[in-house]
Amino acid sequence: MFYWKFLRPGAVSPFTGFAWEPGRWVAADSSAQCQSGFHACRVSDLPYWLNAELWRIELADPVAVGTHKVVSPQARVTTQVAGWDQLAAGAFARACATRVLGHAVDELSQCGLEDMAGRLAGAGAAFQPAEWTAVAGRCADAADARGAWHARKLCGYVQDAAATTGRYPAAFAAYLAARAASHRSSATLADRYLDERDWQAQWLAGNLALG
């Protein structure tokens, strides 16, 4: 079965430092590096494990399903997903930042601050950190004055997104968007955090043609 695996530059595992050789099968042994088998991602797991390189990986049976990962005692990486590079990671991070802004806009509207919501939405037409920070700051003050705690917090996350997008790893942008979603006041969805992660997974699958 084929899955996906994020690695550090040079096809190196992020935490064990294991250097993968494309095409070569590797079996987990009793060494500290491989005790629990090899981890890989389904599409839905991708947002949790973002790193510099994305590889297609083949896992031998049995494949165990874990929380946001699958595990197998034997694996080999096959081909690198060329579409996942610094540019793509940057685009993904900006998309996540725009999602944060979108959540803030929706929250402002929900608490009756439609005018502020409109201004923030206008600023979101392009990723301009300075403008986002300034507009979100004014929105936060308005939310504060209204006692709209969730909207105030989400405007703060917009400022965080402006400050960190492009400077922090893409994984942080994804986490920030999911965290912001989980702080929405609306309870219409069972779990906004997971819903946001699902959106991220679909973005990756679609933009990288992961099939």
């Binding site: 500290a32 996350y157 790893p169 965290r179």
Partner: protein, 305 residues
Amino acid sequence: MTAADGSRCDRVRRADVSALDELLARHHPGAQVLARAAAVTESAADESLEQAWELLVAGIIGRTVTDGTRSVLLSHLMTTLAERRRLDPGPAAAAPRRAFYPPDDRWAGWWDDEQAPREWPPGTTLPWTRVARALREVPVGLRVLLILRDAIALAAQEAESVIPVPAARQPEVLDDARRSYVAALDEQLTGTGAAEGESRASAPGSALDPPARDGEADLRPALRARARIRDISCDAVFGLVGLWLDGSLAADERDAYEQHLLLCPWCVAYVGKTRLALAALRGVPASAPAGSFRRRLITLIQPEP
């Protein structure tokens, strides 16, 4: 005691000098590291270590040492240092300082940007002189456990026979020790270590009981209580770095920990520093026992007629 050590003890009792040399080769380096880390001066360390060896050899000959040669030696060493007031107690107690956002901040538990850890300069090396200076900034109870577990690689049960810290409590004490040690190295290398950890000492001349924690709870239940791998914060990563480096976290805990490392450059910097600092403890050079000291031990097993 390993079967090989048991055999060496039997050979020592038969006045076999080569067996004595084998015991010295196996156990002297680690004991020397502990002695020099715990004693007030190098000469006090060397004298205490020689006395510990004499006690050990006397015990082997008198058959009072029946197992645990290494831990008996280390235990003699610590007792000698304590009884002769040669222990370096470490710095005076200081109030803990935290560098994380407070509970009412939307990033509660995450590194305060102003005080977050920065990476050490590229190519940073940690020679013994630097390591020793940092160890002096760690309270002696923590320092001894750090050496026993991380430099000499004793298991918890064996370390328990040398220092009065129950094996069950050692993970939290060891974490405190590692944090103090890394903070001291940070202070040397970047001048920012004080914000990352705490440095409290037992009172001079007190027992080796490690300082009590300031009410900080064991972070592992807190980690598990979070329903999903989503909100692990930097303070949790900070508190669990030792367990992660040891491979002691459960699978879901480890996943949460590693996912945080993927997105937090400050925690990556801190974990990297800790890994380098602990590796430096394992690479401490040791010098061979002095010839005169070895000859004294030989006369113990081969008494002159």
